[in-house]
Symmetry: C2
Subunit: 190 residues, 2 copies
């Protein structure tokens, strides 16, 4: 998606440790006009899929998922990190390791909101090691829903997550895949 790649080149900042900061438009401040174009692009790429729900994980995936859901006319469900007193009843539970925060979370989703009749599109802002996405895939499998695919805004193509998920036979659409990055350059996959 050229609009996104141009924005990453213009406003993305590469930091030591293979960190790409896009917090001025994607995951701290959010440029809603850009995210609307991202939502339209996900709809274009998954227009052949009978999506009934968009599943994401808190926190930075939620806004992108909500904007995208408007183009599919479906609800969003977001998995929560750590136990909440307000969540009771039966839950799907999995564990994910956060690269950013260097810790392991329990991730939970109420069983009420995902079941065998659902056709699920996963949405998230970043894919690097794939831990968050693998956690969501676990939850979809446990629910018996059909996983139609995953839409990612930015994939770090030089980390293992994308390859691992494609090798599982899952349809993965990343709007910008970065093959290498350094202080001076940022190379996108064609």
């Amino acid at each position: 998606m050229q609009l996104l790649k141009d924005r990453i080149l213009k406003d993305g900042i590469v930091k030591p440790g293979n960190i790409l900061k896009v917090d001025s438009f994607l995951n701290h401040q959010m440029d809603i006009t850009l995210i609307n174009e991202i939502g339209k692009e996900f709809k274009r790429r998954f227009s052949d899929c009978p999506i009934t729900k968009i599943l994401t994980i808190e926190a930075s995936g939620i806004g992108i998922a909500c904007i995208t859901a408007q183009y599919f006319n479906v609800p969003v469900v977001f998995a929560k990190k750590a136990q909440s007193l307000n969540l009771d009843g039966e839950m799907y539970i999995t564990k994910i390791e956060s690269f950013t925060h260097k810790k392991v979370y329990d991730v939970i989703l109420s069983k009420k909101f995902l079941g065998p009749d659902d056709h699920v599109l996963l949405i998230d802002d970043f894919l690097a090691n794939g831990c968050a996405l693998l956690g969501l895939i676990d939850i979809v499998r446990e629910s018996g829903a059909t996983l139609e695919g995953a839409g990612i805004v930015i994939e770090k193509g030089f980390q293992k997550g994308g390859q691992q998920i494609r090798d599982m036979g899952i349809r993965l659409e990343s709007l910008a895949i970065i093959d290498s990055m350094s202080d001076n350059s940022l190379v996108f996959r064609d």
Copy 2:
């Protein structure tokens, strides 16, 4: 907002401890059609304000803020709970106490994304004790921005937050205010 009140009566569940669960449409599963109507209503109520940014706090405020932002044509900025390795540079920092999770969070916002030229609308899903909203108000004051007001989806009118914030002279628009609730009844303020 009658559509919202009707939905709370239909799908809200009152739990012991003055907990109102609206997780089937607002803060776990999200009914995007309803949230679009909520966004339009916030725009109607704050149409006289020169809003430049919508500020919310992760996680459940983000989706509502993003949908609402489309009607104001402004970016969303969300404050983050706890330190993230990806957030460097100067930050506004405040503390909030979570009623739901029974703990105190550091809440941070990058100084890059809020300053004296901004006119801010705060958006959140719930207002009860007011801790989250007071934290966001702190951040706005520290930034030198103009606080235009706060838009809340559901206010628990029998808890102190709403009164406290109105007493500070802040314009607070809650789309549904609950004056009392029990297993058998839920009373809205007119």
